[in-house]
């Protein structure tokens, strides 16, 4: 790090700063540390997750005081943030794409009741099909939420905009929440040379003290927050919000200018490049702006009078600056990184056209191009092409008013190599048989579990999937499916299992497979089950049609999806929910889930001098599901594969009656930081330590199916913790109390299961 000599002064000498090489997400976290928010409510979602991860790591090393609270989903995270803002402090969040949409209903609540906070929206394509890369389809959903929206086109701008956002949003005549939006991966993950203040005190002085007009933490002055407000009142509340946006429009240039005087970096409502005499222009958001500058330089060399414009803010929309900037421009191409399907232009196109229409003298010809969806790269040549189209439009040539740029029709005549034959119904019948008591309907025994002979069961998931070496998901799926007979339809919610088996245009699924989003797997599959049953009832499917429906959950899906899963269980939908519990959100890079055990080190529960890993005990999902009084609940482990296969077969029988929940403890060598080779032993030790007891709850009756005490194999939990990197710190003497607390909780739960095993009533 060195002093930033290049910072340009604007009026007075900027305050001392230093250099770093940091990404947008790191800069958002650094700004948050300097602002020292009271609360961060968050939920991990790519590509925004690193913001919380970085802050959590700083917290473990005592670098800030922000209280970090993981939500049970983005909707919950937004609720945490809202509640925290009611307390009159500074609040922070970061999200992306479907996380933003999942919490969408909360944003108008935040703005309509006028509580400022800061949300970093790390822009990413909204799912359907799922795409984790950057575009602006989430950002455009934010346009009508009543939040101020600042855009940050570089890691430097992320830091600067975050600081300015606090000051703008908290201004007395504004009082609105603020989004700072920056491009997923392009800005969030690229490390660039940046400058930041050497002392967080400079930031504190710039933003000043937050003085909320009222708080919910002042019982001496009771206040009703969020009344029931119908007509004729709501419209007036919204007029107030509209006036606040006007106030923000007036306030923004002031704050930009004040910030320039302390930082040496000046931002504008519209950034322009070579627009002074430009006759043709490109309007484009965020990271693409810098790339397009090179295209402008190239075309200028050819004598073309071109320029580019990129907004620093889109709510309030800088319509006056738009009108004046484009007044003399003949041809304008507005490039939108998201479509407003059916509107004949992306949202920016529509808003610019509207702004220009208010200027009676304007003659600019505006064309709309949709580009870069789903993270498709934007090269200089792309910008050249878009500018050339602006030139053609401005010169009165015939060009399409609206089109997608950078699309590919596909190779004519290309036939995708069909793959392997599907799994026939009879291919997997008769290997493992269940004996059912005809009177009670209960499964009394399962026969035919023989590892050698079961090698003939065709794989429903096939090789070629891209999981990490030693991944537990695929051992579990293979073992579990050996116990399932006949036709199966699977649904995977978002997670590692989904991502590594369905990367377009390849599928590792040999049976019908469905994906839906992280929180919504169980309801989705229940809808399909009900459709089958209704079609059978109407005679649209044969009466003997039998499909076993298996929802595969994991990577913490039973946090965000717990409510919907419980609802599905309580309604008795006939399906199996199989959870591979790898104790974290592994697909987004190992953040804590509620089933992460006490003291375990994850990327949002770092172990360090000031924080010792996760603060709470692991969630007991099997008992939660058992409390729904469904026909069958069981825990399984790959180390006890015969037990798993038997339970799978039972699960299948009982899924004809109602909802079944199965939980497997599932290896994640990458995030557990464990040796791949000893994976099976790690699971076996977790089972033998009674951290993960193997049992079933068959119509309310608990039965331990493997008792390490009876086998003389019970070991203390430390024997399990020793085998993994994520718990290495727990083997040190100074963390003995954490291990003791963990052991105590494991023992308590084990004794409880034993008591349930022994009693017919528990």
């Amino acid at each position: 790090m060195g002093n930033d000599q290049s910072a340009k002064t604007a009026g007075r000498q900027p305050l001392p700063q230093m250099f770093g090489l940091l990404s947008g997400n790191e800069m958002a976290a650094l700004a948050a540390k300097h602002i020292n928010f009271h609360i961060m409510g968050y939920y991990p979602i790519t590509p925004s997750t690193e913001v919380a991860e970085n802050l959590d790591e700083m917290k473990a090393f005592g670098e800030h005081d922000i209280r970090m609270i993981p939500g049970d989903g983005e909707h919950g995270a937004a609720g945490i943030c809202y509640g925290a803002t009611l307390g009159g402090g500074r609040v922070f969040n970061a999200t992306s794409a479907n996380g933003f949409l999942f919490s969408l209903e909360q944003y108008p609540v935040q703005s309509g009741t006028r509580f400022p906070m800061l949300l970093n929206l790390v822009t990413r394509a909204v799912s359907g099909p799922l795409d984790i890369k950057g575009d602006h389809s989430d950002l455009y959903m934010a346009l009508n939420t009543g939040w101020i929206i600042l855009l940050a086109r570089s890691p430097q701008a992320v830091y600067d905009m975050n600081i300015m956002a606090v000051k703008i949003g908290e201004s007395k005549d504004v009082r609105l929440p603020v989004i700072v939006a920056y491009d997923g991966f392009f800005t969030s993950h690229q490390k660039r040379r940046v400058s930041f203040f050497t002392d967080k005190q400079f930031v504190q002085e710039f933003i000043g003290k937050y003085e909320p007009p009222y708080t919910a933490l002042d019982p001496e002055h009771p206040i009703t927050f969020g009344p029931y407000m119908n007509d004729p009142d709501l419209i007036n509340n919204k007029k107030q919000l509209s006036l606040a946006m006007d106030a923000a429009y007036a306030r923004l240039p002031e704050v930009f200018s004040q910030y320039a005087s302390i930082s040496g970096r000046e931002y504008h409502l519209l950034e322009t490049y070579r627009m002074e005499d430009a006759e043709y222009a490109l309007f484009i958001l965020n990271s693409s702006y810098d790339t397009a500058k090179d295209a402008v330089d190239d075309l200028r060399k050819q004598g073309k009078k071109v320029g580019i414009v990129s907004p620093g803010v889109i709510r309030p929309f800088p319509y006056r600056e738009v009108a004046s900037t484009f007044r003399h421009v003949k041809g304008l191409c507005v490039a939108d990184r998201a479509d407003s399907y059916g509107a004949n232009g992306g949202n920016m196109t529509l808003e610019i056209k509207a702004a220009l229409k208010d200027d009676p003298d304007n003659r600019t010809r505006v064309i709309s191009r949709i580009y870069g969806l789903g993270g498709k790269e934007f090269f200089i040549e792309d910008a050249v092409k878009l500018l050339e189209e602006a030139i053609a439009a401005g010169d009165g040539k015939q060009v399409k008013l609206f089109e997608y740029h950078g699309i590919n029709p596909g190779t004519p005549g290309y036939g995708m190599k069909t793959a392997i034959s599907p799994v026939g119904r009879t291919d997997v019948t008769g290997q493992v048989s269940a004996q059912v008591d005809q009177q009670t309907g209960r499964v009394t025994d399962v026969k035919g579990v023989n590892a050698q002979l079961l090698s003939m069961v065709p794989k429903r998931v096939v090789p070629g999937h891209g999981a990490c070496p030693g991944c537990g998901i695929f051992s579990n799926l293979n073992i579990f499916f050996k116990g399932i007979e006949g036709d199966v339809v699977v649904l995977f919610h978002t997670g590692c299992g989904e991502v590594v088996t369905s990367g377009y245009p390849y599928s590792s699924h040999r049976i019908t497979y469905i994906h839906n989003l992280f929180q919504n797997g169980a309801p989705t599959l229940s809808g399909l089950v009900e459709m089958m049953e209704e079609k059978i009832k109407r005679g649209e499917l044969p009466q003997d049609k039998r499909i076993t429906f298996v929802m595969v959950s994991g990577d913490g899906g039973m946090d965000i999806g717990m409510g919907p899963a419980i609802g599905t269980a309580l309604k008795g939908h006939r399906l199996i929910l199989l959870e591979y519990d790898n104790e974290g959100y592994m697909n987004t890079g190992d953040q804590l889930s509620f089933s992460t055990p006490l003291g375990h080190d994850t990327s949002t529960s770092h172990a360090g001098p000031y924080q010792k890993g996760k603060r709470t005990h692991h969630k007991d999902t099997a008992q939660i599901m058992a409390a729904c009084h469904v026909p069958y609940v069981a825990t399984v482990a790959e180390s006890n594969y015969s037990d798993m296969i038997k339970k799978a077969r039972k699960a299948q029988e009982y899924s004809r009656e109602g909802f079944v929940y199965i939980k497997a403890l599932s290896l994640c060598p990458l995030s557990w930081r464990s040796e791949e080779q000893i994976g099976e032993r790690i699971i076996a030790t977790a089972v033998d330590s009674c951290f993960f007891p193997l049992y079933e709850v068959d119509h309310g009756k608990t039965k331990i199916t493997y008792d390490p005490e009876l086998k003389g194999k019970k070991v203390p939990v430390i024997e399990w913790l020793k085998l993994m990197g994520k718990t290495k710190h727990l083997t040190k003497p100074e963390n003995k109390d954490i291990v003791e607390a963990f052991q105590k909780e494991v023992d308590r739960r084990w004794l409880r299961i034993k008591a349930m095993h022994e009693s017919p009533y528990l």
Partner: protein, 337 residues
């Protein structure tokens, strides 16, 4: 600014000196890119940017890490991947059989490969048009120093570049590890020093032996005119076309048939479904299954099967000692239609 001393020995037409690292997730290319960029920007005063190929990269899958340097006051605008690198670094030799890595490497290019082979052998293996090939046995050095191989390769990069300051890089390495892993700094510095000196290099002129391979941006065969509506995949199980053998990092599970009892536990534990069986009958005429071997196309080398085998019929061995193609038993169950 024109008078300012130029810190970079050469630049492309956009004003950059560019490095592309080709690796397998888990080998530390991402971190190497970060350390290199920090050395350049924070240690040497260059402007620079570092990023990696994005996506759901898992351990064992191909990844790229990019570093782009410019003179100190030059504005870096591009955020697109490095297509024509001055230095190409190949972290895992095995990748060259499954991927064309040398795209965009010109006659002035430098290719650094983690290999025990010679530059002449590597040039042929890479089918390299021209340029300098530098071979460093980084995996051996890393194993000996008990570190990841990225710091060894950083040493070689520093030397090969001719401009990256050695001390700046060593400081960047120390800075990277000091917070969480201070105990491994010394070993990494030793590995760095060895990478800096223990290599062999040779420059090849464009002698016509191999064609120049320009960078090509891949265009998928499926597009808006021929892709099934709604993004569905109509080809069940077509991932069997993928070759995952580059996920292994030097070892294979070796099947010793004489010792095998066909108990089936390897098949139970294997996450990548590599074990190939056939049906038969036992001496009583009852159905029996016989394990034939391993389909190495899918084996990622986790060695869970080696651990679980009670009969020593599977053993961890050095991949380079075998002709893996010859000992592979192909899955017939997954034959393409």
């Amino acid at each position: 600014m024109a008078a300012a001393k130029q810190l970079l020995p050469t630049k492309n037409k956009s004003g950059f000196y560019e490095i592309r690292m080709e690796s397998i997730g888990g080998l530390g290319a991402n971190l190497a890119g970060k350390i290199l960029a920090e050395a350049g920007v924070l240690g040497m005063g260059l402007n620079g940017v570092n990023f990696a190929s994005y996506g759901s990269e898992k351990k064992g899958t191909p990844v790229k890490s990019f570093v782009r340097f410019s003179e100190p006051d030059f504005e870096i605008r591009s955020n697109s991947p490095v297509e024509e690198p001055h230095i190409l670094v190949i972290f895992h030799e095995k990748m060259i059989t499954t991927h064309v890595l040398t795209q965009g490497v010109g006659k002035d290019g430098i290719v650094i490969v983690n290999t025990s082979r010679t530059p002449d052998q590597m040039r042929d293996a890479l089918r390299l048009y021209a340029g300098t090939v530098i071979c460093v046995d980084a995996i051996r050095i890393a194993v000996e120093e008990k570190v990841k191989l990225n710091t060894t390769l950083l040493g070689t990069i520093a030397k090969a570049s001719g401009f990256v300051d050695k001390d700046a890089l060593k400081s960047a390495i120390a800075e990277t590890f000091k917070k969480k892993y201070p105990q491994i700094i010394d070993a990494n510095i030793r590995a760095f020093e060895r990478g800096y000196s223990e290599f062999t290099g040779k420059t090849f002129a464009p002698d016509g032996r191999y064609e120049y391979v320009p960078f090509s941006r891949s265009v998928p065969d499926l597009g808006y005119e021929n892709a099934p509506i709604g993004g569905v995949i109509l080809n069940p199980g077509n991932s069997v076309q993928k070759d995952l053998s580059a996920s292994r990092t030097g070892h294979i599970p070796l099947f010793i048939k004489d010792k095998c009892t066909s108990c089936g536990e390897c098949e139970i534990t294997c996450p990548d479904y590599c074990f190939v069986w056939e049906s038969g009958v036992d001496k009583h005429g009852r159905p029996k299954r016989i394990l034939l071997g391993i389909d190495y196309q899918f084996c990622k080398g986790c060695m869970k099967c080696v651990e679980i085998c009670k009969f020593d019929a599977l053993k961890k061995d050095i991949e380079a000692s075998f002709d893996v193609g010859a000992i592979t038993v192909k899955h017939r169950e997954f034959a393409l239609k």
